[in-house]
Symmetry: C2
Subunit: 313 residues, 2 copies
Amino acid sequence: MSIYAEQALAGSKLAGSRLIRQLEEGDPQGVLGMKAIYAHAGRAFIVGVTGPPGAGKSTLVDQMVVVLRVRGHRVGVLAVDPSSPFTGGAVLGDRIRMQRHALDEGVFVRSMATRGQLGGLARTTREAALVLDAMGFDVILIETVGVGQDEVDVAELAHTTVVASPPGMGDDIQAMKSGIFEIGDVFVVNKADHPGTDEAVAQLRGMLGMRGCAEGDWLPPVLRTIASAGEGIAELVDTCFAHRHHLSDSGLFAGHMFRWELHVFKELVKEMTFDKLFGTHNENSRELELLVQKLKARKIDPYSAAESLVQRV
Amino acid sequence: MSIYAEQALAGSKLAGSRLIRQLEEGDPQGVLGMKAIYAHAGRAFIVGVTGPPGAGKSTLVDQMVVVLRVRGHRVGVLAVDPSSPFTGGAVLGDRIRMQRHALDEGVFVRSMATRGQLGGLARTTREAALVLDAMGFDVILIETVGVGQDEVDVAELAHTTVVASPPGMGDDIQAMKSGIFEIGDVFVVNKADHPGTDEAVAQLRGMLGMRGCAEGDWLPPVLRTIASAGEGIAELVDTCFAHRHHLSDSGLFAGHMFRWELHVFKELVKEMTFDKLFGTHNENSRELELLVQKLKARKIDPYSAAESLVQRV
């Protein structure tokens, strides 16, 4: 058994963090750890908080942690940053304030970096969420920066997705619409003491009205918060739990992760089969190397090269 | 040979568009098409235009097309939208204005949708760029919405990445920093007739100064544009070509795509091997199905399930 998994299950945040690092780095020890923690996971309520830059997501998450702690929850926070190809690390930025929770045993904050793996962000974030889940953090907040496909992928991990926006976005709300709008379960206009709040709320409600809604569907509410003053946060947390109950009632809470488990399973099978058949110590690895050289010289296309290699299986 | 590839190479935009659709949908005919067009591609100059919502990217791209056309280039435009999980399609939004190029034989505009494939956006965008490239569009503009990992992935496709931002972002520029800032080759403060332009330019230059730069490196310039009035666009296009020359001089232009070809090749090998070994008509497919059932019931973790299956290879 993985030593980090064992220590993490016993309550060590340091060990949990190291296990997540192993997973990010593709360390085989990380897989051992995941096998060990898997049976202990599957209970946490995962809430995604996303929205465009300037929405005040970090402050919102920070205040949600405060409310959740008062209510006795143990809270995990995963701050997802796009990787920096140049620094290889996450830029912490204004997340520094989250450090005030660092001494609280009931809070586990971790920044996620993608380290340039394609499609790797959602996968390592999900694995990190499973680690926190297994460690007994019963509410996990995943904060994502920006608008894009990675946000959609990460948001699909969450049971409940909070979409935050600043007031006064005007036409730019259209840009949001094309990305994360469709995946929101709860909408928040943050900085609601700023001008343009009423317009933003009305605009969001109008757009939600167009989404169409069958009987018994969850109609996403639009809330107002002033995260910097802690206003509206308790209502936001209440609404997230109301959505959780809705999911449970409709049988959607359990099994939510299955699509992901299945995806991970298939990806693992593909990778492991590839290593087994074409890895360094295999007779096919020389053929692979020859094809890569031809590819580099543009003497073959990737499609024909792949077919040629797979024929050997 | 793929009929669409043949017709696309002969100049049919409709056929080119249908081939791209096949690639998006994972149609095996698409792969046949890619094999056919591959030898004809590899010459186009690919320019990514990215930046946060509100930067005016679509207008910028629209005006770059005008300048490039005057200079005799044939221009492809790929507008990358995050997929909408609900509609399954791209939201066109203000891109409608690009339609004024629809009657110009020398311009090919295509919106890309991701259709929910994980990590699929960069791949299909790259394939679409190859199609346009093979069709003789010698400059390809890829416009991406928002800030996130998909933007980083897509931007890595481009030879030259233009990062556009609106003036007056203030602290929000930090949010941009964490995403696409590091990958920019050319920076543009658009809407430069708005207040806050000087500050934004100075802030960007300050951040770029911190990036560090060895002798002979390309130091990304910061330009001002008013795309809605066509101002500064010729200089922007000149600067993109200056970066292209820099890449050629440093031997980085050719071979730029190799990393991607290699990635595609390996992904294809993995997929094809999986289908061959565990596909529907295979003796292992029943074992796969049993493991999926156990996974659904949480009786096994994905890691152990994968190992169990791969042992049969």
